[in-house]
Each structure stands twice: as structure tokens, then as C-alpha cells.
């Protein structure tokens, strides 16, 4: 085993639910948690004579996402029927796009742990309708709810460019950020708005020979955690399987596996023979889509700076850490608020600390986004400036920010009311320093001795002054006065 090395190869298929008011091809409302089968019409049921009509908003959302993923947007695209034999789509076909997807040949830039980014190729982006839900009831029956049937879904397929479970997760998280930034999906994992299907295999080098393990596709994953773990599991499983059996990739030995969330293993799914013969053909009920240059320009105007670009810019322009930049750009409203506060004159690092250490926590506790706290970006900038010039300490700044959220008062007012103004007046503090020096002759002697003991004695004297002011002296100013009296630093 010592002469064996391997590379992980993963391509990812993602379904994202678009946030429209109505379904893809009919006016039924999309609402989560309504009574089963209450949002259903003849189009959803596939009743004879019912005709689907495209939701313009869904098509524009899909084009915008394709543009953000750097895809070539098709000038001409059409709809195809994909044969489907489950009761959650009563038409017996799913309306999808086969040979002419809306977008193709794109890229997505994903952030890596070391702060750099990596470009992953996107094979295609197309629009389709979702199926309803089969609920497995007790006994020999399944319950069917068609409320979800016909929901607009964006299917995104990457090339097999991903090479670790962490990268697969990073792509999924980045895609969530992108569709939220664009406002084309809520991408709420709890509501099943994103579903993942990774295709995994290994290229193994052993004894100067190369082997490829059979591809396994893991179906229907609906959390980042399950996605990452299932890929990690597949890597271990395929390596073990290769060592044990020597099985390699052949025509037709791709397998489909499901994820068992409890045992954290993938399980082989038995598939009906020829199940993948979908027999696509053009849907005669729907006319094609032609994307005119003018329409494309209109949609392109809605593009925004992508989160990963913004994250990199925060590191370069504001000197933030990659981690902090990631936290601030996790959603657009937070990043926008941060930039407004910086635009109002706040020091980027101070504003970042206030928002990441206090603001986002308060927002989370209240179940809101950051702007939902009602803070004025200018007031946050003013608070950052107060910390900068030493009027209040950084920890007092955090207390004041919390009070700003609770009371809506200005930081200057709260600093007074909460008695958090630091004493920075050198004249006043000098008297206190003299008093402390007179009272602590032993420590003064310790400072003058030099070496390690000197540092400790100096810190002790600063502490004494802080105590006399009940912690309200500016420690920086106190240190400066001490240094001027005792020499050194």
C-alpha cells in the first residue's frame, strides 16, 4: 500500500429552487407549509387540455444565475419532456431542457481555506420543474402532495474539477451565497431549496500503473454536512473496494447510492434496468425561448459584485483577515451595511470587529439580518471613531453597540449615560500616577531593576492606576505617563 497514491475526482449536480411567487408553468402560488394539494391546478395535474405557460420571472432568474456563473447564455433554447414514472408528477414526464440548456461553459470561483480561490468549470445550467412529494405512510401506501410539483428549479452541473470533500462543500456554500446575492433563491437548506448529487471516483496510481474506480453518484443530499461527509465516505469506500477487489471503471458500472444520515454511510440503490432511458423529446406545448441582446442587457444590469470577489477585495482593500471577510460577505445585506459604515468614515477593522463580535450575534438572537437591527451605519462609524481616539475602550464599544440596538440612542449619549468614557486627560491622570508611585515604592524599585521583573512591576503600577479610576482610565495614556516618569517602555 505504501507505493499507492490517488486523486479524488468529483463533479457536482445541484438543484436550486428559484424564488418566484408562482410555479414555473402555471399561476399556482409557491408557499411553504400550506395544506397538502391546496396549490394545484389542471396544469399541475396534467389534465387533458391544460397548457403550460412560462413564468418570465423564473426564466430571468435562471439567465441571471447563468451570467453570474460566467456561462454562455443560449440565444435559442427550448423545452423537452423527460419521461418520468412516479405519482409525484402526474403528467408522466418532467418539463426540462435537454440538448439546448439556457447556459453552458461557465465557471465558479470558490474560496479555499488558505485564502486563495480556485476556478471550477460549469458544464451546464438549465431550468426545469420540480416534482411533488411522496410521503411514505405506514402500510402498503404512499401519500402524494402535489403542492411542490411545477416549482421552478435551476439545475447546475459542474465538470469533474473538484478534488476534495472540502472543495465540494466550498462550492455548494459559494453557490448558496451567489444565488442569495442575486436574489434568485432564498437557498434555505431547511426548506429543501438546495439539493446536491456528487459524482465521485478515484484515479489510483500503483506500481507505475493507473486505475480508475467506478463512478458512484450519491443522490438527493440536502445539507452541506451530508454532502461533505458523503464524499469523504465514498473516497474511503472506493479505496477499500479497489484494494479488496481491484474493480475499475467499465462501461455501465456507474452506481447510484443513497446517504444514510444516521450511520453516515452511502448505500447502494437498486435501480430498475434501463431506468436511465429518459426518452427526451421536444415539448410541443411550449414555444422556444429566444434571448435578444436587449433583453440580455436588461438582465445583465442586475448583476452585482459576486461574494467571492467582495471577500478577496475586503482582504486586499481593508486589510481584514480572510475569515472576517468571509463572515462579512456571507450575505449581501451584512456586506452592504459594513460598506456603508466604512463609507461613513468608520475604520474598516473597528467596524468589522463591532459587527462580527456584537452586531451579527444580536441579529441572530433576534432572528433578523444585520440591517434589521435598525442601526444607522453612520452611528456605527461614529462609535468606531470613538474607540479609535480612545474615548471608549474596545470592550466598552461592544457594550455601547448593544445598547444602541436596545435603545436607539447615539453612541456619544450612551457612553455618557453608561459612564464608559475613558479618562484620557493627561493632567488628571498624572496626579493619580504620582499618587500610585508614592504608595508603591517597592514596585518602583522593581521597574528600575530592569529585566523580567521590571515588566511585571510596570504592569502592576498600570493596574493600580486603573483601579483608582474604576477601570475608566485609558491604559495607553497611563502607560505613556508612567514611561515618562520612570523612563524606558
Amino acid at each position: 500500500m505504501s507505493d499507492l497514491s490517488y486523486k479524488v475526482i468529483v463533479g457536482l449536480e445541484i438543484h436550486v429552487q428559484l424564488c418566484t411567487r408562482t410555479k414555473m408553468f402555471c399561476g399556482c402560488a409557491l408557499r411553504f407549509g400550506t395544506e397538502a394539494n391546496s396549490r394545484v391546478c389542471p396544469v399541475c395535474l396534467g389534465l387533458p387540455g391544460a397548457l403550460p405557460v412560462m413564468n418570465r420571472q423564473a426564466v430571468e432568474h435562471a439567465i441571471l444565475a447563468a451570467m453570474a456563473l460566467d456561462c454562455t447564455v443560449a440565444e435559442f433554447t427550448k423545452w423537452d419532456r423527460k419521461s418520468y414514472y412516479y405519482p409525484d408528477l402526474p403528467k408522466n414526464y418532467q418539463i426540462s431542457q435537454y440538448d439546448l440548456p439556457l447556459g453552458s461553459h461557465g465557471h465558479i470561483e470558490i474560496p479555499l481555506e488558505d485564502g486563495t480561490t480556485r476556478s471550477i468549470r460549469i458544464r451546464r445550467v438549465h431550468l426545469e420543474e420540480d416534482a411533488g412529494k411522496n410521503v411514505h405512510a405506514a402500510g402498503n401506501f404512499s401519500q402524494v402532495d402535489l403542492n411542490r410539483a411545477g416549482t421552478p428549479l435551476l439545475e447546475i452541473v459542474t465538470e469533474p474539477d473538484l478534488s476534495s470533500p472540502e472543495q465540494v462543500r466550498a462550492l455548494a456554500v459559494e453557490l448558496q451565497r451567489i444565488v442569495r446575492y442575486l436574489g434568485v433563491s432564498e437557498a434555505d437548506m431547511q426548506k429543501g431549496h438546495m439539493r446536491f448529487e456528487p459524482n465521485v471516483n478515484l484515479v489510483i496510481d500503483r506500481a507505475a500503473q493507473q486505475f480508475k474506480t467506478p463512478i458512484a453518484e450519491v443522490k438527493n443530499l440536502n445539507s452541506f454536512r451530508a454532502l461533505e461527509r458523503s464524499v469523504a465516505y465514498e473516497i474511503r469506500r472506493q479505496l477499500d473496494d479497489f484494494l479488496e477487489t481491484g474493480r475499475t471503471m467499465q462501461m455501465g458500472n456507474k452506481s447510484t447510492r443513497g446517504w444514510n444520515d444516521v450511520d453516515e454511510v452511502t448505500v447502494l440503490q437498486r435501480e430498475k434496468e434501463e431506468a436511465h432511458d429518459y426518452r427526451y423529446f421536444p415539448d410541443p406545448d411550449l414555444v422556444p425561448v429566444v434571448t435578444t441582446p436587449q433583453w440580455i442587457d436588461e438582465i445583465r444590469a442586475r448583476l452585482c459584485e459576486l461574494p467571492v470577489r467582495r471577500q478577496v477585495r475586503y482582504v486586499q482593500q481593508y486589510g481584514l483577515s480572510a475569515y472576517d471577510a468571509g463572515v462579512l460577505t456571507a450575505d449581501r445585506s451584512t456586506a452592504d451595511f459594513f460598506e456603508q459604515a466604512v463609507g461613513a468614515g468608520g475604520d474598516p477593522k473597528r467596524v468589522c470587529n463591532l459587527l462580527t463580535q456584537v452586531g451579527l450575534k444580536l441579529a441572530k438572537d433576534r432572528g433578523r439580518d444585520l440591517p434589521g437591527l435598525g442601526l444607522e451605519p453612520g452611528a456605527v462609524a461614529a462609535l468606531a471613531a470613538m474607540i479609535d481616539r480612545g474615548a471608549v475602550s474596545a470592550s466598552a464599544g461592544n457594550t455601547i453597540l448593544q445598547a444602541m440596538v436596545e435603545t436607539g440612542k447615539k453612541p456619544e449619549v450612551l457612553a455618557q449615560e453608561l459612564n464608559l468614557i475613558q479618562k484620557s486627560d493627561a493632567g488628571e491622570l498624572e496626579g493619580l500616577v504620582d499618587q500610585v508611585l508614592a504608595e508603591n515604592a517597592a514596585a518602583v524599585a522593581g521597574v528600575k531593576e530592569g529585566g523580567k521583573k521590571s515588566q511585571k512591576a510596570r504592569a502592576f503600577l498600570v493596574g493600580q492606576v486603573m483601579q483608582k479610576t474604576k477601570g475608566q482610565a485609558n491604559p495607553k495614556v497611563v502607560s505613556e505617563i508612567l514611561n515618562s516618569k520612570l523612563g524606558g517602555s
Partner: protein
């Protein structure tokens, strides 16, 4: 006339369409489907050099609706023709395979 379709192909198509056919039906449909294909075969006599493939027979495109909520049938009407129901759900024989569109 050359045989357009054989019983084996009819069996395969029936299986894909989840149709359970008797041997007599397979024989009957093999003949009928063969006749249909033979009829459509006439199309091959047309000269199509230089003719663009057609995605749709109507010369129109971009027929959209605004994203505005219209009427749904509501649960009662939706389930009116259901062979079997359980409160607000359709009931079907147990689905063994997990589906994913």
C-alpha cells in the same frame, strides 16, 4: 415491406412505459406500431437538404406569463377524481424506489 419493429422492441418500450402487456397484445402492437412507422417512413422521401431542424412547429417564441398568482383548484377539487385519498393526500401503492426528478 421490411419489418420496422419486432416484439423485443415492443417489450422494451412497454417496460419503459410501465405497461404490462400480454403476449397477444405484444403481437398485436408489433404489427400496429410497424404499420405506423411504415406510414411515417414516407417523410424520408422528402428532400431536406438545407432545411434547418425545427424545435417547434409554430413560428412564435417567448410566450410568457407574469409571475402573478392565479387560481388553484384547492384541495377538495384537486382530489375529486382521486381513486383513493387520505385526508388531503392522494394515496398510491407504496413506492419502493426513491424518486428524484
Amino acid at each position: 415491406m421490411q419489418q420496422k419493429i419486432d416484439a423485443q422492441q415492443v417489450r422494451k418500450v412497454a417496460k419503459l412505459a410501465r405497461l404490462d402487456l400480454t403476449e397477444a397484445e405484444i403481437e398485436e402492437f408489433t404489427g400496429q406500431l410497424g404499420a405506423i412507422l411504415g406510414y411515417v417512413e414516407k417523410m424520408n422521401e422528402l428532400e431536406t437538404t438545407g432545411v434547418e431542424p425545427l424545435a417547434h412547429c409554430l413560428p412564435i417564441h417567448n410566450v410568457f406569463r407574469a409571475d402573478e398568482v392565479g387560481a388553484s383548484l384547492g384541495t377538495e377539487k384537486t382530489l375529486a377524481n382521486a381513486p383513493q385519498r387520505d385526508e388531503s393526500f392522494f394515496i398510491v401503492p407504496k413506492i419502493l424506489e426513491d424518486s428524484s426528478a
